[in-house]
């Protein structure tokens, strides 16, 4: 193994351990009470991490499937890695959801008495389906089977469905105007492609893949970013033009996090430009920089899922008997003892230290998981070829 790869492996282990410590602290020291979340700002850094990770997972799988489908020989090795990353990241995303649960002790009820109307149930089923398909696909890859293409396609399709479902998980909550658009599921998919392709491109550069391959990946990524930015700006445009009290609240919440929002637009845009500019270049460094910028921008995007949703009140009252809107209605934060107000209209959410720590868990799982999966595949390969 190369030195850099080994370093990544060790880093992954460290993150995994730290993340477990963070989660353990949350479980014992008052579960989620040490966090910055409230009854207004219900999902925080961990759910942002879930979305972040699942984007890489599904996206990496989609990239891998695309490689398998288009039969690009120079990228086959990469496709193998991408598939492994796909499973590891989706698994990590699942771990993130579990780590965010307040009462994980009751998790078995998701099996007995599952509510099929719930988007979370669909998410669980889609993730499970993906895991199964991905495992089969990986075994096929490991055995160098002729069926790889079929299973890769199925896994890729499942990844697409997974992203649509998760987009729906947000967009079906009509309470949050920021999410409740038909664009959301599509954009979720686009962001997955962006994430996956950026990550795979980064790894491709690290591995010294040749320029045709890099160019293919770079184009895929850049176009995906372009699509995503168009969708994101369309979303913003819809909100800006609506002119209702609710949409004004969304704009205000965005304004309250302007640096973060600007980052989510500017960073991927910059990356995209770099990619278009250096597409044919064999040099890896600019593309790696571009990928990094895009990844950070996507993290900002995932965080910006939350603020305009939770800090934009959903309930605006009118003076009874009239049509005059008076204003939004406060919510009990549920965080009196260690908080500043009992009731509020929004939460200036800043993840608590233990949340940052726990957020390392999905990253660690993803990294370590990738290594473990690749190792397992190598084992299967070697037994297959024996």
């Amino acid at each position: 193994m190369e030195k850099s790869t080994r370093f990544i492996g060790y880093a992954g282990c460290a993150l995994l351990v730290l993340g477990l410590i963070g989660w353990a602290l949350q479980l014992t020291g008052g579960l989620l009470a040490g966090s910055g979340m409230t009854n207004i700002f219900l999902w925080g850094l961990m759910i942002a991490m879930f979305a972040f990770m699942v984007g890489f997972g599904a996206g990496a799988q989609i990239v891998a499937s695309a490689i398998f489908l288009t039969g690009r020989e120079e990228l086959m090795g990469l496709a193998r890695t991408a598939s492994a990353i796909g499973l590891a990241c989706v698994g990590a995303a699942g771990i993130a959801i579990l780590a965010d649960l307040g009462a994980i002790r009751n998790i078995l009820f998701m099996l007995t008495g599952l509510n099929f109307n719930s988007p979370l149930a669909w998410d669980m089923m889609a993730m499970t389906a993906f895991v199964i398909l991905s495992v089969v696909q990986l075994v096929m890859i490991a055995r160098n089977s002729s069926q790889v293409k079929i299973w890769a396609t199925l896994a890729g399709a499942c990844a697409v469905v997974l992203q649509i479902i998760e987009g729906l998980l947000f967009s079906l909550q009509s309470v949050h105007a920021w999410w409740a658009t038909p664009i959301m599921p599509i954009d979720f998919l686009a962001v997955a492609v962006v994430s996956g392709s950026a990550l795979v491109l980064f790894i491709a550069c690290m591995k010294g893949t040749d320029s045709t391959g890099l160019a293919w990946l770079a184009r895929l990524c850049a176009i995906a970013v372009a699509v995503h930015l168009v969708l994101a700006l369309a979303d913003l445009g819809l909100v800006a033009l609506e002119g209702s009290p609710v949409s004004d609240g969304v704009l205000a919440a965005i304004g309250g996090q302007l640096p973060l929002y600007v980052a989510e637009l500017i960073l991927p845009a910059a990356g995209m430009i770099i990619l278009f500019a250096t597409m044919r270049s064999p040099k890896g460094t600019p593309k790696m920089i571009a990928s990094a910028l895009i990844v950070v921008g996507i993290l900002a995007h995932r965080l910006m899922l939350l603020y305009p949703a939770y800090n934009a009140p959903s309930l605006y009252l009118t003076l009874s008997g009239t049509d005059s809107v008076t204003g939004p209605y406060p919510i009990s934060t549920g965080r009196y003892l260690d908080w500043d107000t009992t009731f509020a209209l929004g939460t200036n959410y800043m993840p608590a230290p233990v949340e940052w720590l726990a957020a390392l868990l999905p990253i660690g799982v993803a990294i370590v998981g990738t290594f473990v999966i690749l190792w397992a595949m190598k084992k299967i390969s070697s037994t297959a070829t024996r």
């Binding site: 020291g29 008052g30 009470a33 040490g34 009196y336 003892l337 260690d338 908080w339 500043d340 107000t341 009992t342």
Partner: protein, 885 residues
């Protein structure tokens, strides 16, 4: 009228749920037989016991409490008042007192100050002996009248609290009238009607067709009664609410009239002028029941006595507190003597100028009081008044006509408008409107004041005035101002040396101009305190006695707001070493002077309830016709209704005067009638006061005088510029004065934050905005709070919600800004709580600025539990446990 109430859920046919409901007899049920199909749960019904919630709010709401493990675990309203519309009563504060009864601020151990002045826990004997010895020393050296007694407050307790009055009367301590100490004595009442105060019980509000509310935020300060105004509206009545500031009561009214602060009196005078000018006044009422026809010597300003007039003989056999005056008979055109013994129909002239020959040989010009009134009102035309009040003249005329032509019409004149230096003038003007429109003595009509639970509704002397009573009293005003030349109250020869305070927190609530704290800190005044919460007063006292709360003893309560006598009952034992006050005072009396044992027969602490029962029986038996039909047994089960003079379900104030022509005043218990009758010697409602000081001040008739001219600006002309805002320490929805300040639920609702309200423009002028931590200040003191911009606040006002213990507010006290001005009209006579200098809380000028310090830690760390949790122990104030630090 929406007749359906919570009690009527069960439709006539659905008797099924009554099986459960019947056992309780009083609970509402959903109204359907299918309720039995639901999974049942344990009702605990047989374990609920009734008591009465009793802070000084006039609610006196029946509560049922469920005890578990010796603590009150749940509270709900009893809602068992026979007059259905009274139900349910209760409010958010009393319903959550279970958090305080066994909370960390509960006093459970007697406390005394050791030699270093530090307060330490002790046993009952030491505490009682220390207090007894110290009090005896003070009595011996300075006289018993040097010991002041603060007793909060009359109607909330006649047995246990009554024992403090009894001991004061036993030794001759000076009772500091709580009514005027709290600013609640509405002086216009004795000045006009000769009585302490009067009011409709709230169930009369639903009978009013027009209610004018001045300075009384009923929806906040009378939560249990507020719905009667709504019922009035649902019955086709209207409510007009006068207030410089918008409030919950403005919102529920039909009309809000935003008058300038302290201008209510001017508005009423403008109304009076309109009513008289347009001939809409009730001539018969004015002639029969008021001093309107009585002749005034225009040169001396004095009422002319019958005996002074040639050819007129005073009515015979009148007591020395009455006088026979003179009026002009329209039939004969000649002066006749008026009788103060009854109020017959008559033909007296209300207007005109007359020449009266006096027995001393002179002839004087005389006018009936009504004539002088009409002349006085010339300067109060609606156009003139419009400027004072900052409303338009047409509004005044319109409302005046409305008030005159809608019956019954009820004026509520509240603390917010009365607690100014010239509160009496304003009240007299409003009383004038009530009389001109003939609404006094009618069901749902007249004028009422609602402030504290002051009223003695039956004869209490059997317990409170023991044999050999020495009754001393002196208003708190004189402690702070010192004796004045005009005072009629008795000032102790060496001043005051001690206060025995029961169930009050004067170091916070009566700490005007920081006076009391300074004198206690310097040792000039010693405190002896009884309470069930650990207040600042309790922590500063030489001796503090922990008491039983309203859930832990037998006590008798009444209130002016409803006609029911209720008991507090012992649902749980007082925690720790807390004991019933009746035992505490018995022991104290005996230890001060063992010869008093006949008055104070001793008993063991565990026999306190037995003794309370005896006193209860005594009070009922000897209480007089309003109460002696009630028995202890029936009161143990629910409310008992006081008797009243007029026929019909509801008591009508002054009914006997208006219908049976008995002269004014009504009795102001516990004073005998003759003590207060001299306030209205004529036996009539008096709008003209001819005592020298009234004449000197030009206040013989109701008039308008602006705020601060005779007080703040006279004291310090710079105040006009330095302190341009009016300071109002209003009552909060979350407290009854300072009671409940440490209720955890109330604190949560307020984020532990004392607040200051300003109009946005007023704030902007000072560069302030919502959320800033500010200081409200004047030359005397300062209080801090978080600023809230509120367009509903009048631009010249600054509002602070009173009742915050200073521990929550960086040790600042809202009362430190206030001075107890003495209005000389309040010194013409002295009867404690009837005619006495009254605290004019609102007569305070102030200004607001940004605070250099920040919000106190307790505001930043909202309430913390001392128990294990994510919050470290010892951080933050545990519900003001750190008050002494």
């Amino acid at each position: 009228m929406r007749e359906m109430t919570r009690r009527d859920f069960v439709a006539a046919s659905a008797g099924a749920t009554c099986a459960i409901g019947a056992a309780l007899a009083l609970d509402a049920s959903i109204g359907s037989a299918e309720a039995e199909a639901l999974t049942g749960s344990a009702p605990f019904d047989e374990k609920w016991i009734r008591t009465t919630c009793s802070p000084n709010c006039t609610g006196a709401c029946g509560m049922m409490a469920y005890a578990k493990d010796g603590r009150v675990h749940m509270i709900r309203q009893a809602a068992d008042y026979p007059y259905e519309h009274y139900n349910p009563r209760g409010c958010l504060k009393g319903l959550s007192i279970n958090t305080m009864l066994s909370g960390p601020d509960r006093l459970t151990v007697p406390l005394i100050k050791d030699e270093d002045g530090k307060q330490v826990e002790t046993d009952w004997d030491t505490a009682l002996d220390t207090a007894a010895n110290r009090l005896k020393e003070i009595m011996d050296e300075y006289g018993p009248e040097s010991i002041g007694v603060i007793y909060q407050v009359q109607g909330t307790g006649h047995i246990q609290k009554g024992a403090l009055v009894r001991i004061a009367n036993t030794f001759g301590w000076s009772v500091i009238g709580g009514y005027e100490l709290n600013g609640d004595l509405p002086m216009f009442w004795p000045e006009t009607f000769g009585c302490q105060s009067e009011e409709l019980e709230s169930y009369c509000w639903e009978d009013s067709k027009l209610t004018l509310i001045f300075g009384s935020n009923i929806m906040v300060t009378r939560m249990p009664d507020a719905h009667f105004l709504t019922y009035s509206q649902e019955n086709g009545g209207r409510v007009i609410y006068f207030d410089p500031n918008y409030s919950a009561s403005a919102e529920r009214a039909d009309e809000w009239v935003r008058i300038a602060p302290d201008s209510d009196g001017a508005f009423a005078l403008g109304m009076a002028k309109t009513i008289i000018d347009e001939g809409l006044f009730d001539e018969h009422f004015m002639r029969t029941y008021t001093d309107s026809p009585l002749l005034i010597n225009t040169q001396t300003g004095k009422r002319i006595l019958a005996d002074e007039v040639v050819g007129v003989q005073a009515v015979a056999d009148i007591p020395d507190y009455r006088s026979s005056f003179v009026a002009i008979s329209q039939t004969s055109g000649a002066p006749v003597a008026t009788t103060p013994l009854e109020l017959p129909d008559n033909d007296y002239a209300l207007t005109g100028t007359y020449e009266i020959a006096l027995t001393d040989g002179s002839t004087v010009e005389a006018k009936p009081a009504f004539q002088l009134l009409a002349e006085q009102l010339e300067q109060y035309s609606p156009d003139a008044v419009a400027d004072i009040c900052n409303v338009d003249a047409d509004t005044i005329r319109r409302i005046a006509r409305d008030a005159a032509q809608t019956k019954p019409m009820h004026i509520i004149f509240g603390g917010g408008t009365q607690q100014w230096y010239h509160g009496d003038l304003k009240g007299r003007a409003c009383a004038l409107v009530a009389c001109l429109t003939g609404n006094v003595g009618q069901l749902g009509g007249g004028i009422s004041t609602y402030v504290g639970q002051y009223k003695t509704r039956f004869n209490t002397a059997s317990w409170m005035a023991p044999e050999g009573s020495i009754k001393n009293s002196c208003p708190f005003h004189y402690w702070v101002n010192g004796p004045t030349p005009l005072m009629k109250a008795k000032y102790p020869k060496d001043g005051f040396k001690a206060i025995v305070v029961g169930w009050g927190n004067p170091l916070e609530q009566h700490n005007v101009a920081n006076w009391l704290r300074e004198h206690v800190d310097s040792g000039d005044i010693e405190l002896f305190c009884l309470d069930f919460q650990q207040t600042l007063t309790a922590t500063a006292a030489t001796v503090t006695f922990p008491c039983a709360s309203w859930y832990e003893k037998t006590e008798l309560t009444t209130t002016p707001l409803h006609p029911y006598v209720q008991l507090q009952q012992r649902i749980v034992d007082p925690p720790g070493q807390a004991r019933e006050e009746i035992w505490i005072f018995t022991e104290l009396a005996n230890r001060i002077d063992p010869s008093k044992e006949t008055l104070w027969p001793r008993f063991a602490p565990e026999d306190s309830e037995k003794r309370a029962d005896e006193v209860l029986a005594l009070l009922l038996e000897k209480g007089g016709p309003t109460i002696d039909h009630l028995t202890p047994e029936e009161l143990r089960h629910g409310p008992g209704k006081l008797a009243h003079a007029n026929p019909g379900e509801k008591r009508i104030p002054f009914w006997e005067q208006i219908n049976e022509r008995i002269p004014f005043p009504t009795v102001s218990r516990p004073n005998p009638l003759d003590a207060t009758s001299k306030f209205v010697r004529s036996g009539r409602i008096e709008f003209y006061r001819d005592e020298d000081i009234f004449l000197e001040l030009g206040e013989q008739l109701p008039c308008y005088k602006p705020p601060f001219e005779d007080t703040e600006y006279k004291d310090d002309p710079d105040a006009r510029v330095l302190y341009p805002l009016g300071y109002t320490t209003r009552n909060s929805a979350f407290r009854v004065h300072a009671t409940y300040v440490n209720n955890p639920f109330m604190l949560e609702l307020q984020d532990n934050t004392p607040k200051v309200w300003l109009n946005p423009e007023t704030a902007a002028e000072r560069g302030l905005k919502t959320g800033d931590w500010v200081e409200v200040y004047n030359s005397r003191g300062m209080v801090e709070g978080q600023l809230i911009e509120d367009p509903g606040v009048y631009p010249t006002q600054c509002i602070f919600d009173q009742g915050w213990w200073s521990a929550y507010d960086n040790k600042t006290s809202y009362n430190s800004l206030i001075w107890p001005w003495i209005n000389p009209t309040n010194e013409v006579y002295y009867i404690a709580s009837v005619w006495s200098p009254n605290m004019a809380w609102n007569e305070t000028a102030c200004n607001v600025r940004l605070s250099n310090g920040g919000a106190p830690q307790i505001v930043r760390d909202t309430g913390k539990s001392i128990l294990d949790g994510p919050i470290p122990q010892g951080s933050g104030i545990e519900y003001a446990k750190g008050a002494e630090s």
